[in-house]
């Protein structure tokens, strides 16, 4: 990743460790609900404070997916997208480094980092998913 790259989100809510990418979430100290991206207010119980930063699991389960062939400017088609369930109870959207024809519902995928689009020619780096090796 070059210094000229742009990141989304700009806060880079993730930690790379031992070849794995752990996204940062928030955990409610009142009800225990985990959310991503980190929230200041618990989306489950409404607690307005006590949202503690936690690292999320680097592997999740593919809930659903599709492949995009017509996309807004800056996205290189085709690209696969999907929703992934992490063990902490978080379901998140992201691109998947695979062709949709090779994916199966319920398969394990790992969080990774990579370009998701280009902004004025510069790559925008974000979290995405890849098939387990």
């Amino acid at each position: 990743m070059t210094d000229s790259a742009e990141y989304f989100p700009a806060s880079r809510p993730w930690t790379e460790r031992g070849g794995a990418v752990h996204l940062h979430g928030s955990k409610c100290s009142r009800c225990g609900t985990v959310a991503f991206p980190p929230h200041g207010l618990c989306p489950a119980c409404g607690a307005e404070n006590g949202q503690e930063r936690v690292e999320l699991s680097p592997v999740g389960t593919l809930y659903t997916f599709s492949e995009v062939h017509i996309a807004p400017k800056g996205f290189a088609t085709p690209y696969a997208v999907g929703y992934v369930d992490l063990p902490e109870g978080v379901r998140l959207f992201g691109q998947i480094e695979a062709r949709a024809a090779d994916l199966k519902l319920g398969q394990q995928v790992a969080v990774t980092l990579g370009p998701v689009r280009a902004d004025a020619g510069r790559p925008v780096i974000s979290y995405k998913f890849k098939e387990l090796a």
Binding site: T64, A71, P72, F93, V124
Partner: protein, 158 residues
Amino acid sequence: MSAMATIAGVGMTKFGKQPDRTVEDIGREALLAAMKDAGIGRETIDEVLCGSSYGGPLIGQRILRDLGMTGIPITNVENACSSGAAALREACWAVKAGRADVIAVMGVEKLTKLGGGTLPLEPTDVEVNLGNVMPAVYAMRGRGATCTRPARPRAISP
């Protein structure tokens, strides 16, 4: 169970690319057809609810202005693909509540003005930044084996 409201008449325009017509023209055609179908005149209409996502500010007022149907409440409803349905829902409750007897409900859009491609979405949204587009949203909803957070439908007749 008492009925909420009755649909007295409907009108629809031809779907297709209509480069020579404005969204206001198209909306007016549908509204006049619905009024004719219902057999009612403008004096009977108490208010107007207009559903649209890309029609721009005051879409309902812009449609009604040239018909001279002003001076009644005109409210615009934006709710993505279900903007027209959401406007109809609000109209049903308004009639049920006794706020109005007759409401003209519209759903209008002219997407060809956007020049093709997927619908432009808001860049402040996380998923939009990562490349989610509406056709993918629907495809993923269709492919998902189960829906763990289902909508809770509510009977429309209280």
